[in-house]
Amino acid sequence: MNRRRRRRLAAFKTAVYVVLGLFFLLPIAAMVEFATRGVGISSPRTLSAFTSIGSDPELVDAIMASLELALITSVGMLALLLPTMIWVRLRLPRMVRPVELACLTPLTIPAIVLVVGFAPIYRWIEINVSDSILTLAFAYLILVLPYCYRALDAGLSAVDIRTLSEAARSLGAGWDTVMWRIVVPNMSSAVSNACLLCAAVVLGEFTVANLLNFENLQVAISILGTGNASISIALSVLSLVFVFVFLLVLSFLARSLSRRRGAARA
């Protein structure tokens, strides 16, 4: 790449980061500004909204439950979606569009309506299987389908999966080798993005948990926030920061995992 183009690219990137950075960070700054206001017009700024949250045991329970749900849903999503997508692309090409449509359906129906459909199933589950909040994973797996499908599909479309699989098969590899040792390492960014989206969706999910009377992170925040406006906004900011840090840590973990597997790029 020549120097002039590199400079233009750098200028372009700086402009993009600055403009969009302002767009995304200003509303959050406004929230922090509001949460640190004192009572009355001329009282000084205070962190009391943040500190008064303390270590509410219900909030801690809710955080743990949401984290566990994020883990279960990510694993479940990868186990369910990834092999299916690769398999369908390789062996059942006519099923690609139906699978795509099926994966988009959970997003076309508003969550408040989906819950109406989930409710009878969850009633059965709660009475006969378990009333633990972790049963929400069944519903969350469906909710993350659209997002994760799209992320994985973008990665899959960049891999010439047919050629790779034919080459591997002609060299004697079984289908599992093709999937796990050839295709997946070539879409590692798609897989990690899908997991990231999965975690973000689960940690940010409110409607389904709320209407099924479970208390996950966002529901707990909503309950605590009904007492006081500053606390409610402070809680939301903290939740954003928490999920952000969690996703950042996840991205470092993903890098070290893929390093250890020693993936060979095609």
Binding site: A29, M31, R150, L197
Partner: protein, 289 residues
């Protein structure tokens, strides 16, 4: 590459690979969707078309139109701006800190919505938002023609707040698949930047771009919490009409109307998906595969 055992056995083992997905979505996706569809045709005295007939009322038709416009505009803006941001990130170092920060931030913000997002915007550019106040102190009126934040226009802007990050996350893997060798090859053959985008990278990215646009559209179409928190001007978009039918504390419980509205939404998105499939097929002709 036919196997000696013949076609039938091979066919069933192939379909078995898709079985877990089919079983799971059958239980947890098909069943709720069927329940919704059945509800759409149910009435107090058995099966009826009256719920669907209510969909033709003017305020419901305009809700569908508003939803369509809101979703299409926010999806398009989100897709374009998100693609630009994703490109800026993807051209950086793949292990760099900027990429990690932006990806994590986009992950968080793509799911940020509801009452808090509405308030975040109210606190920024609402009538007493800190930017508006700051501009007012410098003599500039942010809202010379009325407060557009509390309208569908404002809602569209707020929707782009989570559409752009979502686009970045789902589109970046496609950008990662672009090899720098292709750019070099284009240049060796005498092509300029424009040639590269029009004939090499563009066609390769188009399927993923369209797919992402469709996701953003569906995302905005069914989004409810932010609109509910921002606007109390009645059911101007379909999810608000659904919420009114389901949760209204002042009228009759209209769960079946909500189901009919949801069915309408599924039909609309299915139609859009048909158009999307057609576009994908056409653009596939450009690919050498």
């Amino acid at each position: 590459m036919r196997r000696p055992l013949g076609g039938r056995l091979r066919l069933s083992s192939t379909w078995l690979g898709a079985a877990p997905f089919v079983v799971y979505t059958g239980a947890f996706l098909l069943l709720p969707t069927v329940l919704v569809a059945v509800g759409a045709f149910s009435g107090a005295h058995g099966p009826t078309l009256s719920n669907l007939a209510q969909l033709s009322q003017p305020y419901i038709v305009s809700a569908f139109v508003n939803s369509l416009v809101l979703s299409a505009v926010s999806a398009s803006v989100g897709a374009v701006v998100g693609a630009v941001l994703a490109y800026a990130v993807a051209t950086g170092s793949p292990d760099g800190i900027m990429r990690r920060l932006v990806t994590a931030l986009c992950g968080v913000l793509s799911q940020f919505g509801g009452v808090t997002l509405a308030f975040a915007f109210i606190a920024t550019i609402g009538t007493e938002g800190f930017i508006v106040i700051w501009l007012r102190q410098h003599g500039i009126d942010f809202y010379p023609n009325g407060v557009w934040l509390f309208s569908l226009t404002g809602l569209t802007l707020i929707y782009t707040y989570f559409q752009i990050p979502l686009m970045v996350i789902v589109f970046m893997p496609a950008l990662d698949g672009i090899r720098p060798q292709w750019r070099e090859a284009t240049e060796t053959l005498g092509g300029a930047t424009w040639h590269y985008w029009r004939h090499v990278a563009g066609p390769l990215l188009l399927p993923a771009f369209l797919g992402a646009w469709l996701l953003l559209f569906a995302n905005a179409f069914s989004a409810y919490a932010t609109a509910a928190a921002l606007l109390d001007i009645g059911g101007v978009i379909v999810p608000l009409q659904i919420s009114r039918a389901l949760s209204s504390e002042v009228g009759l419980d209209q769960a079946n109307l909500a189901a009919a509205l949801a069915l309408g939404m599924v039909v609309v998105v299915a139609l859009i998906t048909v158009g999307y499939s057609w576009l994908q097929r056409r653009s596939a002709r450009w690919l050498p595969r």
